[in-house]
């Protein structure tokens, strides 16, 4: 569960932020997130940021995929 997509923080005002998904702007409550900064990606669900997306982990997952691709090509 359930519908939640990665969105980029474009401005912060107290506990609320404006986040962008493909350029469409949504309001997001930052009440559950610490140390959010403009430029961070969060998971937006029902008007709240429920988690930060870890760029490091995302890159690691993609790198693993790369390995799978390469191993299959061999």
């Amino acid at each position: 569960m359930c519908l939640s997509i990665p969105a980029k923080i474009i401005s912060i005002d107290g506990s609320m932020a404006e986040v962008s998904a493909g350029g469409a702007i949504f309001n997001a409550g930052l009440h559950m997130i610490e140390d959010a900064k403009v430029g961070d990606y969060i998971l937006l669900h029902a008007g709240f940021a429920i988690q930060m997306i870890s760029e490091k982990e995302a890159e690691e997952t993609l790198r693993l995929f790369e390995e799978i691709n390469n191993s299959l090509d061999e």
């Binding site: 569960m1 359930c2 519908l3 939640s4 997509i5 990665p6 980029k8 998904a21 493909g22 949504f26 309001n27 409550g29 009440h31 559950m32 997130i33 610490e34 990606y41 998971l43 669900h45 029902a46 008007g47 709240f48 429920i50 988690q51 997306i53 870890s54 760029e55 982990e57 995302a58 690691e60 997952t61 993609l62 995929f65 799978i68 691709n69 299959l72």
Partner: protein, 361 residues
């Protein structure tokens, strides 16, 4: 779009599918317990990429599907009261109650508004001080913290015309109920956004007690296929455990701030699930400190419930015991334009997804 497109890459998906084909050595049945997964699997045509000996079944992961007719009847009853505005996520609008739905009541003039967030509902309360604004709290551990934050905000601002009608539910008790019910499974595709809040540790009891593997999964096609691969490996090597596939959003411990907020405002209670009956400690209700926001405490109702259509097997479908095609009503008199049970109403309901995104080889 970042963190989406990379995980929908066709080449990547094809290669993962190839790896799955190479890894299967027997039949496998995996259950996904999240409406988002049911939808993604069908939307991207995942079944058409898998070998025939992998069966994916849908469990009770769509909060709309597990919402009983009694909740809809209650919401409708409140909507008929004077000076009430019902605020709800769009998911509930078409869910059938015993004799009507919020959609039908809206058409008949009830003040029912769709919101994208509890905070939107709170704003409606600020702007309509003469009315009672009742927010329908559906959703699992992903959504309930949002309701908690909203209630806390209402408390902070002394807003006295905002109320919650809660049918928030918890995932692990339902998963355990399915296992105990005897569903024949080889592993779970676990809900990634629930786990983003709770942490993956909430699933630890499943391999420990029941020897079933769990992979906490993201919602893009590459995520789902990678998870299936991980589950196949667990079955082949007989190493059931909890693993996180969706590590860009999920950790062992989850979002502690969200968890604290949740436990500050809510406590667990027994809850009624469509098709399961009552599952102990599987629901959330407002704690005593926040009871003044519980509409059922402020304005108790007495409702008479009618039985669901006796041929409707939503319950068995939710428990993974039957598929939509096993239902005598499916696509005959129950279809998206005329849903009889919640499995057909919700976009992610097993029956709705099955009907709309029928698997084509």
């Amino acid at each position: 779009m970042k963190y989406i497109d990379e995980f929908r890459n066709k080449n990547l998906v094809t290669k993962l599918a190839d790896q799955i084909h190479k890894s299967v050595i027997r039949d496998y049945t995996f259950m996904e317990v999240c409406g988002g997964h049911t939808s993604a699997i069908h939307r991207f045509g995942i079944p058409s990429l898998l070998p025939e000996n992998i069966r994916l079944i849908s469990g009770p992961g769509c909060p709309v599907c597990v919402t009983g007719t009694d909740f809809i009847d209650r919401a409708i009853a409140y909507s008929k009261m004077e000076d009430v505005i019902i605020t709800t996520f769009g998911d509930l609008i078409k869910v059938p109650g015993s004799s009507s739905s919020l959609e039908k009541e809206k058409a008949a003039g009830a003040n029912i508004r769709i919101v994208l967030s509890g905070l939107d509902a709170l704003e409606i309360a600020r702007l309509n001080s003469g009315k009672k604004i009742i927010f329908l709290g559906i959703g699992f551990e992903t959504t309930a913290p949002g309701s908690a934050v909203t209630i806390k905000q209402a408390a902070k601002e002394n807003i006295n015309n905002f109320f919650l009608l809660s049918t928030h539910k918890l995932m692990p008790p339902a998963m355990e109920a399915i296992i105990k019910d005897g569903a024949s499974l080889d592993g779970f595709i676990c809900p990634g956004h629930v786990a983003a809040i709770t942490g993956s540790s909430i699933f630890d009891f499943i391999p420990e007690r029941y020897n079933l593997g769990c992979v906490v999964t993201g919602f893009e096609p590459a995520d789902i296929l990678q998870s299936i691969l991980m589950l196949i490996k667990m079955v082949n090597q007989n190493t059931p455990k909890v693993e996180i596939q969706y590590n860009r959003a999920v950790t062992l411990c989850g979002n502690l701030i969200a968890q604290r907020c949740l436990s500050e405002v809510f406590e667990t209670c027994d809850a009624s699930w469509r098709g399961f009956g009552v599952i102990p400690l599987s629901g959330l209700k407002l704690r005593k400190d926040f009871e003044r926001f519980d509409i059922e405490k402020i304005l108790p109702l007495k409702i008479i419930f009618k039985e669901d259509n006796e041929l409707c097997i939503c319950g068995e479908i939710l428990r993974g015991l039957k598929t939509p095609e096993d239902c005598p009503l499916f696509s005959e008199i129950c279809f998206p334009e005329n849903p009889l049970g919640a499995c057909m109403v919700s976009n992610e309901g097993a029956c709705n997804s099955w009907y709309k995104y029928r698997f084509v080889k």
